[in-house]
Symmetry: D2
Subunit: 361 residues, 4 copies
């Protein structure tokens, strides 16, 4: 069977990670085209990653690249546009989180893919991160007894690209960037499309990026699921010192602490510093946590390999657009809870241009 | 100056810790009497700790022991009775957390001590734990920039004594036992009697002790302070594997993680097991975190030494009954938030027989 | 280019790891045959790993399997036989550590492969373990200033297979099993085929396996290299509690601590235990270090992928039979040092049937 | 009983630690005099520590201070002089490590104290460090089965005072400064005045302090005890990044890892840095290990409290001059082993002006 051809939309941070993942771990796939608006950027990205063709027109990238799969790594506000275009062109879709800016967009994207009989694969890599997967298996092995509390946390000092900070492009702050990971992971850990009962949230802004964004910089979200299990998502754009990605599981019969960065690192002291310690690390002088194989340990290659396998063998992906929509609904509820100071029950719906409006207004 | 004489009320787990602290670290004090209801228990405790006299009558213990200080380590529902009796007898008071079952009791205890011109010293040992104190000093040194998030957590598999599980004696579950530590510590870290703005809480029960207690077994409390700093208290009676006591500080210029148990331990593997690893450890076979100097590392000796010094030199204690009352008010707000699913603003007051009624009713 | 065909000799613990590595990470290779003496074992291994053919005759496995590469995972005393047979049949060779039982065998194996113009690839996976490779890169980035001390350590409670314990089959004890890793890694870290000046060693036996083996169970080897850098290898078959694989680097400008097992693990507590924590873990009740992707983190897939690439593209492998011989010479010197209580200078040669004879006699 | 009066000889780094220990933890003792050669330094030290009298004449400090105990914290080459003077004056002696520069001096010091019927108390604080003591108790509880390997290590970037670097004043390099701790600790852990059988050592110099000292900067010492247990002492003056003080225990039934600095620390990240992280830490920008109660965790107060109790109650100290002499003999053997490249058997004696001569010559 020949390689599965992919058109990659986007040439930023995440697109780089996807390319490294495909190159090193998914030889049955081939990225045949990349799209981004700026021609110099598109050409440079194509050259760096040995991609045959580059485009500055999204529709042409989908139509003329002879791809089977469109991998969407563009800013949030373009997710809907890109996915619907790909579905109409009969292409399978890999869509990076968060799914979209609104529930309406989410429903249209799911419908468009269903109508076109193409897969809508939601790229939540935490569902594939090997350490977290080992923990999930521990839970299924009964290691923890009855689980009553899950915690997941991602913290760093803020993303690089400007669009994250413009809530009209991103839809919100750190929740739209990283909180969505935790919300997806809670659902994944519990399994069986668990029913969320309510959401409580508290947000802070004006911490490390005052004036740069209206988005929340630190978020605490508490989701209660049917049966009483709760998930606490802690996310921050205001944490110096490098990236943090941790999970904890508490059950009546056991507990588990899993740390993807510091918990995998070599501990280094260097007077003069060196090249690269980890994502968002800052200086490498003094003590640092030196990580390795970041993409592999976060689950990106495993996720993409799974998605390509689903395309090649026409299998149901483990994480779909429906999962992305469920996460977006929790995000809506979180912003609403933060805005009202109340617990918000599920199901929840509201008509907004972007999720953060439920907090800002 | 001769030794300061202390009458110890109570002969349980905390009373043991106080005795070890006095014996090893506070030679300027002498416990001259112990009280507990059961005579065999009182006599055994006195013999074990070389205390000259033992009583089964609380008032006699206060009146006839020739003490200057009464150290109150009895169950929560007896705090009010013991403190008022001590104040009326003109004795300084060391009162273990939580201050009392109701705000009314708290106000009466504060008033009684004020009227008698005796010190009411609230025994929150986390304000003295050496590692946490080093962290607080780091904050004052400006190591973290502008602090926006504090976290403090205590978790184990449940206390030993039965009275904890009877909400009529304890006033509630894990919040009354351990959540109060975090609430006090947040106020201590921020300093200057900080104003709490609101409280959000979520509680769970029926986890590890179903049928044994109506009290909450796992609690998440989020306190917002003036200026936007939040404190998150996580406390559990349903965590197997030994005691956990951790704090985290997040600021725009730095972060800090402090762990009093695992973070101080020797890491041990033993096929056959051994005597004692740490509080609530369970089995010592396999891997364990072996701690040492638990009382010293939790701050008990330092706290008691400070209180005795305040008595001897007539100084203002660092932690007073007013601090205990402020904590109790936060506890009230937490139960109310959990009961209503709403953020509760401060100041808050309600008339209840015990704090947990705000959640159970 | 079609897949590179491999005949795997051996069906034990390491052979399993090689198979997992090929299947998951080296799609350009295909194991077409497996050999082991016992037919039931050979058939079961072939079925489990989907290998087309199985053999109980080593020469036939090499000759009739249509392989290009022979991957030698048999007990040490058979290394020479297998490698020479493969070379004579014109097959490239992957040879697991240690290279052979004697320096004479080593020289013959190297010569045979050279004469046949086939590659002799020494499978020292620590040269590919991603965390250790990151550390080596740190050294090259100048993070440590002038390195003066390297430490590498592997410890567990003893291997499974009986042949390890029979020094006539293994050649020695824990040095032949695990000390060889450290000795190879020191040379790899320093780079440029560094000249070892002397070796000091101390061995212990009769610890956890008295009566089962004459081999050393705990070894300390100190190698001094030209320029004064020393490497300390600590290896043990008498360490309960799971596998340990650590390295440390000390330089005048920095230090680094890298731990492949506990340092990558999730920390788990489970009352009832669960399936698998890590290699040689024993019970999974209580606290355990739960690892994941063990083969990947130890470097096996990366190593094998590199070797296959060298075959496919006719490139020089990073680790060769000459490296294996250099390690064996250090091993000889170590046993001799332990036997005489003296530092042994390099180069060193002696005529023995197996390395441990230099200590036992 | 009135306070035990102490004359402190020395006003350097260790003298400061002793003073903090006495003040905070040994109220039954009172330092009534301090001696150092420089009058400004003596006066400043006395003022800082509230010591009644200061001297620049050692004999007068002993004779005129009305002390009962002389605490010797002067440079190594003055140990003999100070101890003999104190003994002749009928004073009990606390002597900091290492005992003396030569075995002859050691024998004279022991004899002088015996003749004067005063205690010669060897201040090896690791015998009192609470974490290490917990580990020793674990060993006695049988947690480890049969112990076969002990490791102890102290590393930093070099002491402050110049005299350490002058081998004529110090007697050697890092072994005389820190290796002596490990050698004493091995004997203490095994208990019962264990018989050392042989010593192997390897030394390095010219690492971080080339040109400043002829002393060894990095030392590896392997001691074999009767019964086969070995102790490995690793000590360094060339390790940047702060102080390291660790011990490991390996037995057939268990293992233990104990770390006194990083293993007790709070983990801090600070962009701007702060005051003090730990001994020899260097910069506090970036990540640091923030320690607390360093003196308490290293065992200094507990050790001094024990010594004063022995004086007050006329009891035999746990660590004596004989222990110091045994350590010095091991140090001699270590230097001789490093110099000859041979294992050195015990008992060992040689006539040298200072121990390092056995290596340098």
């Amino acid at each position: 069977m020949s390689k599965t051809k992919i058109a990659l939309l986007g040439a930023g941070f995440i697109a780089d990670i996807h390319m490294e993942s495909y190159h090193r771990f998914v030889p049955e796939a081939e990225v045949v085209a990349v799209y981004t608006r700026n021609p110099e950027r598109a050409e440079a990205f194509a050259r760096k990653h040995h991609i045959a063709r580059w485009f500055t027109d999204l529709d042409k990238a989908i139509a003329e690249s002879d791809c089977e799969v469109v991998d969407v790594c563009v800013p949030n506000l373009l997710h809907h546009r890109a996915v619907v275009a790909a579905a109409k062109a009969g292409k399978h879709v890999i869509i990076e989180k968060p799914l979209s800016l609104t529930l309406e967009e989410a429903d249209e994207m799911i419908a468009a893919c269903k109508a076109a009989n193409v897969k809508l694969m939601y790229a939540e890599e935490l569902c594939f991160a090997p350490k977290y997967e080992r923990v999930r298996l521990l839970a299924h092995e009964g290691a923890f007894g009855k689980i009553y509390l899950l915690k997941q946390s991602e913290k760093h000092s803020g993303p690089h690209s400007d669009w994250f900070y413009d809530v009209n492009q991103s839809g919100g702050g750190v929740i739209m960037d990283m909180g969505c990971h935790a919300l997806a992971w809670f659902r994944w850990m519990l399994g069986g499309n668990p029913r969320a009962v309510s959401v409580l949230a508290h947000l802070q802004t004006g911490l490390l990026h005052p004036g740069r964004t209206r988005g929340e910089e630190n978020s605490i979200i508490l989701v209660e699921f049917e049966g009483g299990v709760i998930g606490i998502a802690e996310d921050s754009w205001a944490k110096p010192g490098g990236m943090d990605d941790c999970a904890e599981v508490y059950g009546t019969g056991g507990v588990c602490y899993a740390d993807l960065f510091q918990g995998n690192a070599a501990l280094t002291y260097s007077d003069r510093g060196y090249g690269y310690a980890m994502e968002k690390a800052g200086s490498t002088k003094g003590w640092t946590f030196t990580v390795f194989e970041e993409a592999f340990n976060q689950g990106y290659p495993q996720e993409l390999k799974h998605f390509i396998e689903c395309v090649r063998e026409d299998k149901q992906p483990l994480v779909t657009g429906e999962d992305g929509r469920a996460v977006l609904e929790l995000i809506y509820a979180a912003y609403h809870s933060a805005g009202t100071g109340r617990k918000v029950t599920l199901p929840f719906h509201a008509k907004v241009a972007k999720p953060i409006d439920l907090w800002l207004d």
